[in-house]
Point group: C2
Chain length 320, copies 2
């Protein structure tokens, strides 16, 4: 058994015996290694951040896991079908989207996930930076849907649903979707999505969908238009929980999208929209549109009711 | 002066003095090299394929240029604004689109053109091969338009106009556009377009547009659904002329598209359509549609009139 495997097995053993002390002898018997090795591996796991209690005559028990992007922790009983079969994690990287894009070019399979705890060149939409200090989660995923490029906005909104659900599951807060790609709490950006793709005119080769979530990010490290889950809840939130929920939800939503298209998701996107019903100004590379946001159509476009009862369909732009 | 420069200068000199004999002494004076060097360079140019006549006491004159993808010949008085400022040419390559895509990833500027006389892994739409034997032209161009991915079909049709015009200018034959990306003569494919891109949801990072033209390709080297300009005209066609016309037309059409969008081009695309007015069956990854092609709309989609006067808008698919 490789040394890394022993670490994984020890943690699994602890998790299957929550709160229970396991003797060094029992552990060494089960894993087929020496008691000295058990002690050594427990020390190593402590260094990583695992809170392992050791009591003479009783043995070891796991009291806490570190809130770090450890593949073992992310993958533990994750049970996804498409997303997260392969996971790359980094303490720090340039941009998880750029990394995932390169992996996709090199043939990485659908579902490959790249996660970083910090980005040095985090990317937002339209070449803008995405402020990516420690405390956040920066996750990019390679997917290969059989869709045309003009269906990509639908997928971005499907991803937004995954993010909303992850935040809701872990914190109880229900954030809203700000078309086209942001997740907001009380109007402030708590997460954003950057969808990039390689495509032909009518077929996508691959998509890299990037999700940045401000989890425990300090308010002072963020732009004034942004917030974090910690700022909103008043307490630290386990990034690992958010990360696992994101992957699980994305797996579920993507499979549903693949089977049924945007139809099912659309109603939920509309219900969760922070934009619909509001007077907005949408600035795109072509034009500026003003009106009341009244719908998100079956292709994920924002529908505005403009002055004089005109209807304007917006496929891209910034909403103010 | 570098040796390659002397070749270029000699050819330029010949071209500016069409049909006229230039003495070795005159050439050596003008270019500032020895007469022996002039002789040596003329020999080298003959090896490349230039037909240079040498007559004692009269000197040299150019009687013919080789029909090869020589950068000097392609660029000579090309006078384009965007397309073809940088040109890479190959006798043989895997796929000019793949090569251009890699160059674009590495930051190659808009307008960069990759040309091959033969492709070993020529790519068609939807992962299909594009048969690319010698005799054809395989040209890919990097462009960086400020458009959203769903505007890319418009650009593919604008490119189709450039191809139609190039064939018309050089051979007098007016081919037709078979939506979404083929150029046909009497229903047989003479050229095809493969548009690939790197994009975000609402912004294109770059487009690689690939054009394959069957110029002097022997009929037996092509699928039965295809033809070549030589097959149709009964004589060899100068590939260089087609290539230069393609680049010039693409430059003009792209600049017009950039300024005015698809509006101007749409009427011409419709007039040149091989599809409109016909009963068609369109097979896409989502569904099969049947009806009469009645329009190409302002987004480049094919509009079908289906049974019972239904109207179906098709954004992708194969037309039969």
């Amino acid at each position: 058994m490789a040394k890394a495997d022993i670490d994984t097995k020890i943690i699994e053993l602890f998790k299957k015996n929550t709160g229970v002390f396991l003797s060094g002898e029992d552990i060494s018997d089960i894993l087929g290694c020496t008691r000295a090795a058990v002690w050594k591996h427990c020390e190593k796991l402590r260094d990583i951040g695992y809170d392992i209690e050791a009591v003479p005559h009783l043995g070891y028990r796991l009291k806490g896991i570190p809130d770090k992007m450890l593949p073992d922790e992310i993958l533990y009983e994750l049970d996804t079908v498409v997303i997260g079969q392969t996971i790359y994690t980094y303490t720090k990287t340039g941009s998880t989207n750029t990394l995932a894009y390169t992996l996709a070019e090199q043939g990485a399979p659908e579902g490959t996930v790249v996660i970083a705890e910090q980005q040095e060149n985090g990317k937002g939409r339209l070449g803008r930076p995405w402020v990516s200090p420690p405390g956040g989660i920066y996750l990019s995923c390679i997917i290969k849907p059989t869709i045309a490029p003009n269906e990509i906005q639908e997928f971005t909104l499907v991803t937004a649903l995954s993010v909303v659900d992850a935040v809701k599951e872990v914190t109880g807060i229900v954030p809203r979707i700000k078309w086209p790609n942001d997740i907001v709490i009380n109007g402030k950006k708590v997460a954003g999505i950057l969808t990039e793709m390689k495509a032909e005119t009518d077929r996508i080769a691959f998509v890299v969908v990037g999700i940045g979530v401000n989890v425990n990010t300090a308010g002072r490290s963020l732009p004034s238009s942004a917030t974090s889950l910690k700022e909103e809840t008043g307490e630290r939130v386990m990034r690992l929980d958010i990360c696992r929920a994101l992957i699980r939800n994305l797996d579920r939503e993507y499979r549903s999208f693949r089977e049924k298209g945007f139809r099912d998701a659309r109603g939920r996107v509309i219900a969760l929209s922070a934009t619909i019903g509001k007077k907005v100004r949408v600035v795109s590379h072509i034009a500026v549109h003003e009106g009341t946001a009244v719908d998100i159509d079956e292709e994920g476009a924002l529908v505005l009711k403009t002055t004089g009862d005109g209807i304007q369909r917006i496929v891209s732009g910034d909403v103010n």
